[in-house]
């Protein structure tokens, strides 16, 4: 069987018929070609697949595409507006908050959610807020710096 879904992805309407078992991350990557959300684990721990669903950071590997029916989804591809990088994207670039880049889309979207909840987090709040995202390259030191950079830019 398939399920008909209608949703908004990065501001554009999307309509599709999906297998019930299709995970949102596979739908985004394979059906829509939005390969920014990555898959790093299968136990909902690494956070590389994080996207925003109705403004909330969500692990798209732990959500069926069918569950996203009616939702508004933002992926890393939809974060820059009018060709302008989002301050978080700038921050990660400026502060060397990424190396291989695989965790970065999820990390940036989690940080985006964090800053929406708490526009000027301290170091501890940043580390607590991003605990659902694993980075194996940076030791996180510069990720904290990147988020602080963005918070300052956005305030």
């Amino acid at each position: 069987m398939t399920v008909s879904i209608q949703l908004e992805v990065n501001g554009k309407p999307v309509q599709a018929a999906v297998e019930p078992r299709r995970l949102l991350v596979h739908f985004l990557r394979e059906e829509l070609g939005l390969t920014g959300a990555n898959i790093g684990c299968e136990t909902s721990l690494c956070g590389a697949c994080t996207v925003l669903v109705d403004g909330n950071a969500v692990k798209s590997c732990t959500m069926l595409a069918a569950q996203a029916d009616g939702a508004s989804v933002t992926t890393i591809e939809g974060l820059a507006q009018n060709g302008e990088l989002h301050p978080l994207q700038e921050g990660f670039w400026e502060k060397h908050g990424l190396q291989c880049g695989y965790c970065t889309p999820g990390m940036i979207l989690s940080a985006n959610y964090l800053l929406a909840q708490n526009p000027s987090p301290n170091d501890e709040e940043i580390r607590e807020g991003l605990k659902g995202n694993i980075c194996r390259c940076t030791g996180y030191h510069n990720i904290v710096e990147a988020v602080k950079y963005a918070a300052e830019r956005m305030s």
Binding site: R22, G40, Q99, C100, Y102, R136
Partner: protein, 781 residues
């Protein structure tokens, strides 16, 4: 123009990666692409009685199901080879697909190809394998016992090799006359690399041309092509192109040639269409080569003044079920040769037994042998500080190789080219506020409650792999030079083709800085191409902290050749002698005649417009170099870790971590710091959390992120970094390498800190990882 070497310019790699446009292997699609799912053994050791593929084949959408029978029928070599031989090394065959026996959980027994990845997994579950389970042994010590189950008939006693370095007799003599001795039995815990991108491959065979393009998660595409064509698929090398697109971390795990990538290649050939396979986290943890897994007995002898007189090391090193690509080199030439550390040690003996176990193979993982060696030496130095009463700082200082003793010949083959160990220690003590910390520690000890500890690690590493003559004489079947082809275009922009393949290190940025600096042009005028066997002539790849020291030096050599060639062209154009020409800031000048000069742009254009050249001057402005280093490079430093231990629960909290590293000249400080941060996280992870645990039946119990704890952001702290600079004397850039330093130094620093905190409890050692329960049990024993 301003110098670009030594400046933190932002990475050119990042715009694609922060916008989601970077393309990793699994992001790629090909017309007609099918998906593979690999059927794996659930047993650590079993005989395969039979395989029934009919259930899978009957599923609509399934295109093929292949087993070892199909590998044999294809008439290909079908094996996964080891690339480093030792004397008397046992090299049992590692078939791409197990034919009659499986030897670790995760061993491939069949592959299913289907139109969709979900469907492929459905079909894989319908492949019925009839196993006869056999006794298995997963533990490196248990595998050496008399009655241990044999992993391979060809390797009696499960011994893959027996290797030693140094002089046993002189060490025995040192111990016989020692004033102080300290000894330690330790385990170096097995680690799973956990590159956050699981391994993946997209193989596209085209029968009309006989060519195959393989996009894959690779740290060294040319090495993969060589092993893939020679030993696995039996294809002519020139018919195979391997491309590493964006690669999501490697840490060693993407150096090695694995069965899975070859299996997917075979599927593509068989079906004549593109086939993709992306490992799940569970699969990648069962098949990526693991790291470490040593059991070691070691001892240090010192004289009455606290000077080291001898070091004895005996290690059993797990190889896993098969010998992976570089596996035999790791616990031998990358381990035993590092045993002198930063110290002047007159007698060293290191004996290593390589051991087959019914587990995932073990191979190079960030640091590869050097973290294990540093851990041995620096744990012993901590104990020596206690035993002699000199403390951790003075015992190290007293034994440092003196700055005027370089080049220093160790007792374990390596000759250190340069070093100056005292200043790094001084700076680390200053940064951490050592005396204050010791008084805080004393008052905590008086008051009870949470205890603090201070741990040191003064490490050395041999990196910049590797001087080919040296490694060749040590048993490598290959040199480890690197190539660089630098082409100056007619408009004076430059393309570099490097054999050093980046997977997160920022090569494109760093290498552009090398060229820009040497050529006196803007970094933006330099393009860096890597990771594609069709574009790059040949390359050894990225591992062993070799990219800057070897890959970068190759680039520098090529640039130097270009300048020499440019001088000839400029001399021709200026009607001067090439010997009189100088090159500075992008201009060729006639010495002593400042008005007679030509810019690089003029020379480059004329190099291609060449129409009136003399016979001995060729057109064009490009150069290729194959740079083979004269020696290893020897980064060093001192790290200090401060921890707080909750003695009531055994929990450890990191309070401070200061690292002073000497990696020689620095090309991009921001990137160098980032490499250190990442290495520190992995080394601290090994010390505190990470552990690949097998149960007695050979099941990997910590195979998922639910049980295997990679460091998370809320468990780490900011790192305090500084540097001293002792340039490498034998390469053109004076650089040494930095990728592994953090992972090499930090495990010993962390464990020494915890043991220091707990010394009032009479604790002298706890094996990694220092889980709260182990610490609590030690406190209460």
């Amino acid at each position: 123009m301003a110098r670009v070497l030594g400046t933190s310019i932002k990475r050119r790699e990042d715009p694609a990666l922060i916008t989601g446009r970077g393309k990793y292997t699994d992001d790629l699609k090909a017309e007609g692409m099918a998906h593979a799912a690999i059927v794996r053994s659930p047993y650590a050791h079993a005989r395969i009685r039979g395989i029934d593929t009919s259930g899978a084949e009957a599923l609509p959408g399934v295109l093929a199901v292949l087993t070892a029978r199909d590998v044999a029928a294809a008439g290909i070599p079908g094996v996964v080879p080891v690339g480093w031989l030792l004397p008397d090394l046992k090299t049992p065959a590692h078939p791409m697909i197990a034919a009659d026996t499986v030897r670790h959980v995760g061993d491939a027994v069949a592959v299913v190809v289907a139109a969709d990845r979900y469907l492929a997994r459905d079909a894989a579950e319908r492949v019925a394998v009839d196993y006869e389970p056999l006794d298995a042994v997963a533990d490196v010590v248990a595998a050496l016992e008399d009655d241990a189950p044999a992993v391979h008939e060809e390797a009696p006693g499960n011994v893959a090799f027996d290797w030693e370095i140094g002089e046993r007799e002189s060490v025995d003599a040192a111990f016989a006359s020692a004033a102080h001795t300290v000894e330690l039995d330790l385990r170096n815990n097995r680690l799973i690399p956990h590159a956050i991108e699981p391994r993946a491959v997209l193989a596209s065979y085209d029968s009309s041309t006989g060519e195959m393009t393989i996009h894959m998660t690779s740290q060294n595409p040319h090495v993969h092509r060589l092993l893939m064509t020679l030993a696995s698929l039996g294809m002519p090398e020139h018919k195979v192109r391997i491309v590493a697109p964006e690669v999501g971390g490697g840490f060693g795990s993407k150096i090695h040639h694995y069965a899975d990538e070859a299996i997917v290649g075979l599927c593509s050939m068989k079906l004549d269409r593109p086939v993709k396979w992306t490992a799940t986290r569970t699969e990648t943890n069962l098949t990526d080569a693991h790291g470490r897994d040593h059991s070691t007995r070691c001892a240090l002898a010192l004289d009455a003044d606290g000077r080291i007189t001898g070091l004895r090391v005996d290690t059993a090193a797990a190889m896993g079920a098969y010998l992976s690509t570089f596996a035999p080199a790791v616990p031998t030439y990358l381990y035993g040769t590092l045993m002198s550390g930063q110290y002047d040690i007159p007698a060293i003996h290191c004996h290593v037994t390589g051991v087959f176990t019914h587990t995932t193979p073990v191979d190079a993982y960030r640091g590869a042998g050097r973290p294990e060696a540093t851990y041995v030496v620096e744990r012993l130095m901590h104990l020596a500080g206690e035993a002699t009463g000199l403390g951790p700082v003075e015992v190290r200082r007293r034994n440092f190789v003196s700055p005027d003793a370089f080049p220093y010949q160790t007792q374990v083959a390596l000759a250190y080219d340069s070093g100056n160990y005292g200043p790094a220690m001084d700076r680390a003590l200053e940064m951490i506020g050592y005396d204050d910390l010791r008084s805080q520690q004393a008052s905590r000890r008086d008051n009870g409650g949470k205890q603090i500890g201070i741990g040191f690690s003064s490490y050395i590493e041999a990196c910049g792999l590797a001087p080919s003559a040296v490694v060749g004489s040590l048993g490598a079947q290959a040199g480890q030079w690197e190539s660089a082809d630098v082409r100056v275009h007619p408009t004076a922009s430059v393309t570099v083709y490097t054999g050093s393949s980046s997977h997160g290190q920022g090569h494109e940025t760093t290498f552009s800085q090398i060229v820009a600096d040497r050529l006196g042009i803007e970094p933006e005028a330099v393009e860096v191409i890597h990771g594609d066997t069709d574009l790059v002539q040949f390359g050894m790849g990225t591992y062993g902290s070799r990219s800057a020291a070897v890959g970068g030096s190759a680039i520098a050599r090529s640039v130097d050749k270009i300048i020499e060639k440019g001088k000839k062209i400029a001399a021709h154009l200026l009607e001067a002698s090439a010997d009189d020409l100088e090159y500075e800031d992008g201009n060729f000048r006639v010495a002593g005649s400042p008005d007679r000069s030509l810019g690089l742009g003029d020379v480059a254009l004329q190099a291609y417009l060449a129409h009136n050249y003399p016979d001995d001057l060729e057109p064009g402005l490009s150069a290729t170099s194959f740079y083979d280093p004269a020696n290893f490079t020897y980064p060093f430093g001192t790290h200090v870790c401060v921890v707080e231990v909750d003695t009531e629960t055994g929990s450890i909290e990191l309070l401070r971590y200061a690292a002073v590293d000497d990696v020689g000249n620095v090309i991009n400080p921001m990137i160098v710091d980032g490499q250190l941060h990442g290495g520190l996280a992995q080394g601290i992870g090994q010390a505190l959390w990470e552990n690949a645990v097998y149960d007695d039946s050979g099941q990997l119990v910590s195979g998922s992120l639910m049980d295997y704890a990679v460091p998370k952001i809320h468990n780490l702290i900011p790192f305090e970094l500084d540097r001293t600079t002792t340039p490498c004397p034998h390469n053109p850039l004076g650089v040494k390498g930095v990728g592994e330093a953090g992972a090499i130094a930090s495990p010993a620093a962390v464990v020494n800190a915890v043991v220091d905190a707990l010394s009032p409890f009479g604790i002298s050692h706890i094996d990694m990882p220092l889980t709260p329960e182990k610490v609590w049990r030690a406190v209460n024993s």
